[in-house]
Subunit: 363 residues, 2 copies
């Protein structure tokens, strides 16, 4: 019997994935040239579907990388001359910040403890920070930053470039791209695909910055997947290097499936499933929501503490219980591996599957 | 009817690809965690199979990236403090050199015209060059550099790190990794897979260099996929970021298929098919081998000039003739698009298919 993966990525494949894969195999998409009209049509289609799904305006380009982690590096190289600013409250926002340091950027940071979230009112951005790096959904702790807070912050600092990590939440966050300059995600989370493709959305403002930095001989914007090169090829729906053609094809098809359902409906379904999960956790004797502030609770990666202060329970027991009905939930991240579980609430799992998981965990 | 792709990559999928893909789907490889034992087993298996196939000693690690183009950047960032040296005789060796310049390395170059090849005797390497960047198979022009010449050159300059681009030839080149410090390829060429995975082989000497450069505050070795991070995770068969798990699984399986045939047999089959193609070109009235020196003729990407000086023939006509029997050959690269064709001779196409192509082109 097949498992249902409630893991926060790689995750359950979207139900239509295998049929799109079969079509791609039948049409030999794995062999076509990335310099052919057939590929340009595939890129254009994925671009159109993502643009509709996420309301991306024509001021922004959509680019493909090997992973979202690669984008951390690319956006820092291409959009930061000296200083970046990071909100850090978990392992992945920390890694974005670590990348800035590894690239010898002057990286400013505002930190909060694991499990806590940010609101616009908490944040003062240093005067010379060029790029503001925010994480919509901290996959390690299950904390989200609401998009309304991100927009508020950008309105307060309109001259700074804002880049949002939406790796484990897109297409859920309703970002306003008239305010947000860049965002990125990977396909093995809410898009229900295997890992191996990153998607980078970036504005003309980012491009202008990258073009200026490229002329600066005292730094490098990198050589591979630089924004000017990506954008130049993007004009004809090509890529500088051979991309993951097969996954770009499938991503376009899954985005089309999402658009058929409609992004509003998809977001409501996500919220409904999250509501069910959090309601269960709040009434459970053995599990409790890790994130205390309701407004900071992720809608896509739900983190629960296993056991109670009096009666701690190993996460392995909870994971094993779910496994007995072929449902795979994730363990806690890092040092919380044994005391937390993480339940991904992506579009690939239905309300009925979430209900079954809750029933099992209730036992 | 399905096409047979003789294109130099993306190319024909290896005959066993679809069955490995099916097994992977049945086993839900697309959903498993990259921090699970199942993934570590997959990485270990691919590592073992590639190690056997390419005779890679334990001094070298095997790492996965998004593409081979990414490795151009990674090896330059991680192994060059100031100076690199490049042999350039076509568009892809040129790109390796361009990457070095984009990274503000002091890049030395020895150039030859498109269609000409290098021997060890041609080459004098500048005293301060740290990394010698060679291209085994120049995909754009169909020129190869023989591995014996590479080994000769390394013996002459034993203290320099040697890195070989084997993108469109691996596993054909019999590199001696007791001499060669690094090599890389992508899977959409001779391994007969869709694009989306790069493989980087690098020695402990490369690692030592990268670790030294990492401590140097006046430069950066990058943030993503740095050699020290890749190696650290490699020790337990993990990766720093979520990799293309599905393709790593399939690559291991295809490498195992190759090992069942045996690398010697596979190399002989490649040479036999190349011999057939070159023999045909030499006796054809309308096609001729583009590379004049036999020892520089690629065994894996055969480039032919279409027509004769008196009677030039558009490559499109030749491509259309092959297409009429569902065989897809590549056009010439760049400015040779209309006057050359490129025929990939990868393991995915059989001797019988090569014979059929030749029969059709003879008409």
């Amino acid at each position: 019997m097949k498992n249902t993966y409630f893991t926060p990525g790689p995750a359950e494949l979207y139900p239509t994935f295998s049929q799109h894969l079969q079509t791609a195999m039948d049409e030999q998409i794995g062999s076509i040239s990335h310099r052919s009209q057939r590929f340009r049509d595939i890129y254009k289609f994925a671009d159109e579907q993502l643009r509709t799904l996420l309301s991306i305006p024509s001021t922004h380009g959509i680019f493909f990388t090997g992973s979202a982690s690669e984008v951390w590096e690319r956006v820092l190289l291409n959009c930061v001359e000296h200083e970046s600013f990071h909100l850090v409250n978990g392992s992945f926002s920390q890694k974005f910040y670590d990348y800035a340091n590894a690239l010898h950027k002057h990286a400013h940071v505002l930190e909060k403890p694991f499990g806590e979230g940010f609101d616009a009112a908490d944040v003062e951005i240093p005067a010379y920070a060029e790029l503001v790096c925010l994480t919509h959904n901290e996959t390690s702790s299950g904390v989200q930053m609401r998009t309304s807070e991100m927009h508020k912050l950008k309105r307060k600092y309109p001259k700074k470039l804002f880049c949002i990590d939406t790796v484990s939440s897109a297409p859920y966050p309703d970002l306003d791209f008239s305010l947000i300059d860049s965002a990125f995600f990977s396909v093995q989370k809410a898009f229900g695909m295997p890992a191996g493709l990153g998607v980078w959305i970036a504005s003309q403002n980012c491009l202008v910055k990258a073009e200026r930095l490229e002329k600066n001989e005292s730094l490098t914007i990198g050589a591979h997947h630089t924004l000017p090169t990506l954008w130049k090829h993007y004009k004809t729906f090509e890529t500088p290097a051979t991309p993951n053609v097969l996954y770009i094809y499938i991503l376009g098809k899954i985005a089309e499936d999402f658009n058929r359902i409609g992004i509003d409906t998809m977001r409501k379904q996500t919220e409904e499933k999250a509501r069910m999960l959090y309601k269960f956790l709040e009434t459970s004797d053995t599990l409790s929501p890790f994130v205390s502030q309701e407004r900071h609770r992720s809608q896509t990666v739900i983190v629960a503490t296993t056991g109670t202060p009096d009666k701690p329970k190993a996460s392995a027991d909870v994971i094993a219980a779910a496994k007995s009905i072929n449902m795979i939930v994730g363990s806690g991240y890092g040092k919380f591996k044994d005391s937390q579980i993480r339940i991904a609430n992506f579009p690939a799992v239905s309300i009925e599957q979430v209900a079954s998981l809750i029933d099992e965990l209730k036992k």
